[in-house]
Amino acid sequence: MSERRSLWEYANPRKFMGLSGTILPWITIAGGVLLVVGLIWGFFFTPDDYRQGSTVKIIYLHVPSALMAINAWFMMLVASLIWLIRRHHVSALAARAAAPVGVAMTIIALVTGAIWGQPMWGTWWVWDPRLTSFLILFLFYLGYVALWAAVENDDTAADLTSVTCIVGSVFAVLSRYAVNFWNQGLHQGASLSLDPEENVADIFYYPLLVTIAAFVLIFVALVLLRTRTEIRARQLRAYMARERMQ
C-alpha cells in the first residue's frame, strides 16, 4: 500500500462531500469579494474609452461570462470522459451540475453583447461568426440539459449525456469553423471586430483580470454546490427506492 494520496480519492462521493464542504465557503467568499472589487473598480474607477465611451465598462461582465461559457462546456467534456473511462459518479454529477451554470453564462454573454452592440454597431444582433457560435453553443447546452432531464435512470442518463457531450463537442468545433466560413461568404471584410483584447489598455486590463478570476471562482463554487446537491438527491432517491422495496 502506498502512502501517496491520489487525486482520484476525491472521486469517492464521501471524500468529495468532506473536501467540498470545507473549501466551498472559502471559494464562495473569495469569488464574491473579487466580483465586488472587480466590478466596483471597473465601474467607478476606470475612464471611458475614447472610441466606445462608457460602454467599455460592459467588458467586465461580457468577457468573463463568455470565457466561462466555453470553459464550462470544456469542463463538462473532461468530466464526461472521466465518467466514461473511470466510472466515477461524482464526475458525471459534476458535469450535470455545470450545465445550467454554463447556460447562465452563455445568456449573460449574449445579453451583454447585444446591449453593447446596440450603441456601438447600431444593432442588437449581427450574424457575426462569434455571436452565431455562441448562439449555437447555447443550443448545445439546451439539448444536453434536456437529455439529462428526460432520462430516468441515473447511470443511463450519465452515459447518454457523456456521449452526447463528446459528439457535441466535435460538432461545436465544426460549427465554429463552418460559421466563420459562412459569414466570410456573406459580407467580405467585415469591419466589426468583436475582439476587445486587440486594443484593450492596461487600465481596463487589470480590473478585467479581477472579474475573470471572480467568475472562475463563482463558477467553481456553484458547480461544487450543485454537485453536492446532486449527490444528496441521488442518495435520497436510493433511500426511497429501498423503502419502496420493503
Binding site: G53, S54, K57, A104, W116, I218, L236, Y239
Partner: protein, 52 residues
C-alpha cells in the same frame, strides 16, 4: 460618487443590471434546490433512525 456615463448610461446600466439579475437567479436557484434536497434527505435519515 456615480461616474458620468454620458449618453450610454442606459446601455451600461442595463447590461450590469441584466447580468447581476441572471447571476442572482442562478445562485438563488442553486441554493434553493440545495436547501430543499438537504432538508428532505435529513428528514428521511431522521425517520430511518426513528424506525431503528
Amino acid at each position: 460618487m456615480m461616474p458620468d456615463l454620458g449618453k450610454y448610461a442606459t446601455s451600461v446600466l442595463s447590461a450590469y443590471g441584466a447580468s447581476i439579475a441572471i447571476l442572482v437567479v442562478l445562485i438563488w436557484a442553486s441554493l434553493a434546490r440545495s436547501a430543499r434536497v438537504r432538508k428532505s434527505l435529513e428528514a428521511f435519515e431522521a425517520k430511518r433512525k426513528g424506525n431503528g
